[in-house]
């Protein structure tokens, strides 16, 4: 919403537009009231040296086709010669002359520059060059009665002004008007609010305008006032200037006044030519499906029964209610009798219609947020007053129509505000008198008061205020958020991260220590992405995706990370190690999908051994024991180089290498090791603190055993069997060598283990060692392994 300072000043002086400090204070005050000032712009700033001049002579020069020679008189009787590229002026026209030495708004200065050796004694200016509009098609032409030599801004009736662009929140429909903003600002500054008033207007005989509201559920109120002796013409320069500053184009005095009243009072309104309005009356009804109406912007609108139409008495649509008037009943040059409509429509209805037609107008913006349902008649009165300035014989007919519908909001709703609640929310005591002093100027009049509490009547322009807390907010706003003090509350319990959060951090630190970097791929994937990484199964889809490539919620982190590996490979970065800790969203028969947090690590250029090593580090850091189960199927992973991680009955993840076929489909050329862990399972399982075991002081002895064993027997199984056979004397067991070779034969390998044996309370004897050895050999043989020579 653009607020023009001179306009605001009509409600009580707030700041002189030329006083930079005062203007800044207004901006600060507005922002502190919650009417955020996005920008402050100076408009119509006079440029010294630009004066009115009259064109005396025009002449073409044979050698300069694109320019002409102009002789102007700026009131001092001397003819000045200027070169000019435009040709929209004629002898006798009043033009804007920038005299020599003038500093233009764009910074350049006007000098005695010439062409063909003939000097130019100044420059004729277009509107855009003077900051007076966006018209650059020609030289600005002024009124014929202009005083020659006078400042161009005086000639146009323009005065230096300031425009505040406000970013208004949804709860302040009242501030979509100069009146509303002025009310808040005047209250904030404890200064009286003055209502702008024009000269009284002649009242004519009652003229009855029949109004029939058929759709009372969408039209709460409809007023119609007839104005006579209208002469359509240009509006006064000051009005044109303000409308321009507020971002509206001047059309004619009737349309301008209509817009002016809307921007001033916040009440959208529409002026119809009464003589073209069949039956001289209105009918407000739902549209019929497919019914059409050409709106003022000359677009044919096809309506549905959810749209509301304003029709003439002959049932011909003349306006799309709350959004835009129809083209056929537009004010024309010959209009003399005008009927002004000012109505109240339901916000939801207008919002839906505006959205359906993709037509957000100044009117619909206001109706959507909520217009004061009592403002119709005062707005029509203001309309007549303002129009009378350019139509001296104007007559307002009595007997205006004022019809209500069922959706007319309750006016004068009362809300109780307890002093204790104000004090609690604001964190300081606000005496009842101060509460009343704050609320009354912004329209909340008290209807009852107790010791500390009050009951106030909500003004009709504040439909957002329906409960106690809404009123408390008004009190806080006007006291000023900066004046409420600051206190840091101290919880009685200590802050901190949960176990899961701490373990998640430990995991991240471990991973970066292991040289793995964190990626964040998009959790939305294309519908084929999961199948490409070898995972099928049901998915949750986005109903209204931005693009189909991002329409499915992932059920695995692999697709995104593999794409990242492929991207980096394509940029000559091989061997990239990436991880993601993120959510997957498998569908579930539950209130929500089975959302889970997962860690996926991909090590490009590394094999499954690297995955096992990394997993061992993770398992040690997080205290998770899990079996590497290579018999289980691991979809999407290398069939011979992958395993499930089994902890008890649950599978907590997979490790190994990505299936080479998946890598081909994902355009990854290196082999890729993977560790994938379900963190929802793992992070929450905090291990019990380890119990201390005494370190033996007795000497230890190492026993090395190598077995030839079938490839199909997991080394871990053999190790487990050895450990169990060795009994309590074995303090550690380590696989220290693996050997395959022709000497051993196909399908077998040699696994060499080193057992460290130690007793807690004595030195080991040769018998101890040999009995452990015998037990181990026998256990291994029972698994089909043979002791290697």
């Amino acid at each position: 919403m653009k607020i023009v300072l001179s306009w605001l000043n009509e409600f009580g002086p707030f700041a002189n537009p030329a006083d930079v400090d005062a203007v800044a204070r207004v901006a600060d005050d507005l922002t502190s009231l919650g009417l955020a000032v996005e920008s402050v712009d100076q408009v119509d700033v006079p440029v010294d040296g630009v004066v009115a001049a009259v064109v005396r002579r025009l002449e073409r020069h044979p050698d300069a086709a694109k320019v002409q020679r102009v002789w102007v008189d700026a009131g001092d009787g001397a003819e000045r010669h200027v070169w000019c590229g435009a040709d929209n002026m004629a002898v006798g026209d009043i033009v804007a002359l920038a005299t020599l030495g003038t500093r233009m708004p764009d910074g350049r200065s006007i000098e005695r520059r010439g062409i063909l050796g003939i000097d130019s004694e100044g420059m004729l200016c277009s509107a855009v060059e003077l900051g007076l509009g966006d018209d650059h098609s020609g030289i600005m032409i002024g009124p014929v009665d202009a005083t020659l030599g006078a400042s161009w801004w005086n000639v146009l009736g323009r005065q230096r002004d300031v425009v505040f662009d406000l970013d208004l929140t949804r709860n302040r429909p009242d501030c979509w008007s100069h009146l509303g903003v002025a009310r808040d600002l005047a209250a904030h500054r404890s200064q009286p609010m003055v209502m702008p008033m024009g000269a009284p207007v002649r009242e004519g005989d009652p003229v009855h305008v029949p109004v029939d509201i058929e759709a009372g559920d969408r039209c709460g109120r409809f007023t119609a006032t007839v104005i006579d002796n209208v002469v359509v013409g240009p509006s006064a320069p000051w009005m044109q200037a303000r409308l321009a500053a507020a971002g509206m184009r001047s059309i004619n005095n009737v349309v301008d006044v209509s817009n002016y009243v809307m921007l001033e009072m916040g009440q959208p309104n529409h002026a119809y030519d009464l003589d073209t309005l069949a039956g001289g009356g209105f009918r407000v009804r739902p549209a019929r499906d497919g019914e059409t109406l050409v709106t003022l912007d000359e677009v044919e609108r096809s309506c549905t029964q959810d749209d509301l139409l304003i029709c003439d008495a002959a049932d011909v649509p003349v306006g799309l209610a709350g959004v835009m008037g129809g083209l056929d009943s537009e004010i024309s040059a010959s209009t003399t009798r005008v009927v002004v409509e000012a109505a109240w429509f339901t916000p939801g209805g207008v919002m839906a219609t505006a959205a359906r037609h993709g037509l957000r107008s100044e009117a619909s913006a206001r109706f959507e947020r909520g217009v004061d349902p009592t403002a119709g008649r005062t707005s029509s009165k203001r309309f007549a007053e303002l129009l009378a300035e350019t139509c001296p014989d104007l007559v307002v007919h009595a007997g205006e129509a004022d019809v209500t519908g069922t959706s007319m909001p309750d006016i004068g709703q009362s809300v109780e505000v307890r002093g204790a609640v104000i004090d609690r929310v604001l964190g300081r005591h606000v005496p009842r008198d101060q509460v009343l002093q704050i609320l009354a100027p912004i329209g909340f009049e008290p209807t009852a008061q107790a010791d500390t509490d009050v009951v106030v009547q909500v003004p009709p322009w504040r439909p957002d205020c329906t409960s106690e807390i809404d009123i408390v907010e008004e009190v806080a706003r006007h006291i000023g958020y900066d004046n409420l003090g600051r206190r840091v509350p101290r919880p009685s319990t200590g802050g901190g991260l949960s176990t899961v959060q701490q373990r998640r951090r430990e995991l991240r630190r471990l991973l970066i220590g292991a040289g793995v970097s964190e990626a964040m791929p998009n959790p939305f994937v294309d519908p084929g992405a999961m199948a490409r990484v070898g995972l099928d199964g049901p998915v949750v889809s986005i109903v209204n995706p931005l693009v189909s490539e991002e329409s499915v919620l992932r059920t695995s982190l692999r697709a995104g990370l593999l794409s990242a590996i492929a991207f980096n490979e394509s940029h000559r970065r091989d061997g990239v190690a990436l991880f993601e800790i993120g959510h997957i969203y498998p569908p579930a028969q539950a209130e929500l999908p089975d959302e889970r947090e997962v860690l996926c690590v991909l090590l490009a250029g590394r094999d499954a051994a690297a995955a096992v090593q990394l997993w061992d580090e993770i398992a040690a850091a997080l205290g998770v024991g899990a079996m590497i189960d290579q018999r289980a199927a691991t979809p999407g992973l290398h069939p011979g180089r992958s395993a499930a991680l089994r902890a008890g009955r649950s599978e907590v993840g997979v490790i190994g290498e990505v299936d080479p076929r998946v890598l081909q489909r994902m355009d990854v050329s290196e082999r890729v090791a993977i560790v994938e862990i379900d963190l929802t399972e793992v992070l929450a399982r905090e291990p019990k603190p380890a119990a201390h075991r005494a370190v033996s002081r007795m000497p230890s002895s190492d026993l090395d055993l190598a077995f030839v064993v079938a490839d199909s027997t997991p080394a871990a199984d053999l190790a487990k069997a050895l450990r169990s056979a060795a009994g309590p004397l074995a303090v550690s067991i380590e696989l220290f060598d693996t050997f395959r070779g022709d000497s051993l034969g196909d399908g077998v390998r040699s696994l060499a283990f080193r057992l460290r044996l130690q007793a807690a309370d004595r030195s080991l004897t040769d018998d101890d060692v040999s009995s452990v050895r015998a037990a181990c050999v026998s256990a291994a043989e029972s698994m089909g392994a043979t002791l290697r020579g």
Binding site: R172, A476, Y481, R486, V488, V540, E591
Partner: protein
């Protein structure tokens, strides 16, 4: 006679010392030492001849001279030994010199995502202020995301969120009521429903909007939410907490201000801005006193408890801290970007 002996001692000693000083290494020194210590050496020979001196005084003088000579030689040996030992270790040290800059290699350490870095810093600041960290699902119910936050169906503010809906339908539920959370505020509701006040939590998390990506927007981004519910919590507590956070997170030269705004789930509502040391302002986020309807939806009696909430973007913190010009770069997963931080 005695004079001759004394001269001889002096000469032999001078020779020995000269030999010692001339040694270039410890082995040579050892050889010289054993030579001079032997009974056949010059001094040994003189010593064996002392008995042939007639006068007791002469024998005494000559004996003393020989002992003195031995001492002198031993001293010379020790001095020489120390010098040679130093030289030996110095030679080893000199031979071992390395150009350490030959061994510089790029770091193999991994890097945390910028969002994670900002996320953890924010958590740390609030943990220091006594907060715990709450989490919630990214796929949410319409009720938690909107309804319970005082945005019932048809509320105009819903339209400002550009919500992404998913096709999940709970058993017995209706389609269209499951969505990707548009803000972290549903965690407020979940926290209120599962814990008793006093509540001091923050909820960082991933949020989703139907936004076309550009230099400052991503459809998937991150927010942090704060919620405090206790007895007698007021706007002064809100302003004080925002100020404490500002100083802790941005630095002592930064301050904050609240200015009135509007959100359906708080009232009074405010935007909070951060004032940089150079005097410029940065709009950071939204905050306010938890709306009584939201407290009720969370099962908390607004007559007994009051509270405040605040929220702002995490991605922006990361982007600002590291002068990342385009937020999309942060999500490119380009290792050349990641390893810079």
């Amino acid at each position: 006679m005695i004079e001759q002996v004394l001269d001889e001692v002096s000469t032999v000693t001078d020779t020995a010392v000269a030999d010692i000083v001339a040694c270039d290494d410890l082995a040579a020194l050892d050889a010289v030492v054993s030579r001079h210590r032997s009974k056949k050496s010059g001094l040994g020979a003189i010593k064996s001849r002392l008995g042939s001196l007639d006068q007791v005084d002469d024998r005494k003088r000559a004996g003393a001279a020989v002992n003195e000579a031995y001492t002198r030689i031993e001293q010379a040996v020790e001095e020489r030994r120390a010098i040679l030992a130093d030289a030996a270790i110095n030679a080893v040290i000199a031979a071992e010199a390395m150009d350490l800059t030959e061994y510089r290699r790029p770091s193999t350490r991994g890097h945390l995502h910028l969002v994670t870095q900002a996320w953890e810093r924010l958590e740390d600041v609030f943990v220091g202020l006594g907060f715990t960290v709450a989490e919630g699902p990214e796929v949410e119910t319409d009720w938690h995301n909107f309804e319970a936050l005082n945005m019932s169906e048809g509320h105009p503010a819903r339209g400002e969120f550009d919500t992404l809906f998913v096709d999940h339908v709970p058993p017995g539920g209706t389609p269209g009521a499951t969505l990707l959370r548009t803000h972290t505020s549903p965690v407020q509701i979940r926290t209120m429903l599962t814990s008793e006040p006093p509540i001091y939590v923050i909820a960082p998390g991933r949020v989703f909007r139907r936004d076309t990506p550009d230099a400052t927007h991503m459809p998937v981004f991150h927010q942090i939410e704060g919620l405090v519910i206790d007895r007698g919590i007021s706007m002064a507590d809100l302003a004080g907490t925002i100020e404490a956070f500002t100083k802790e997170f941005f630095g002592a030269g930064f301050t904050s201000r609240l200015r009135p705004s509007y959100f359906p789930f708080t009232e009074p509502s405010a935007e909070f801005d951060i004032r940089r040391p150079d005097g410029s302002w940065l709009e950071l986020g939204g905050c306010g006193m938890v709306h009584p309807e939201v407290l009720r939806a969370g099962g908390i009696d607004p007559e007994e408890w009051s509270g405040f909430a605040f929220g702002f973007g995490i991605d922006r913190m990361a982007v600002m801290r590291h002068q990342v010009g385009d937020i999309r770069d942060m999500y490119s997963n380009d290792i050349r970007f990641i390893e810079q931080f």
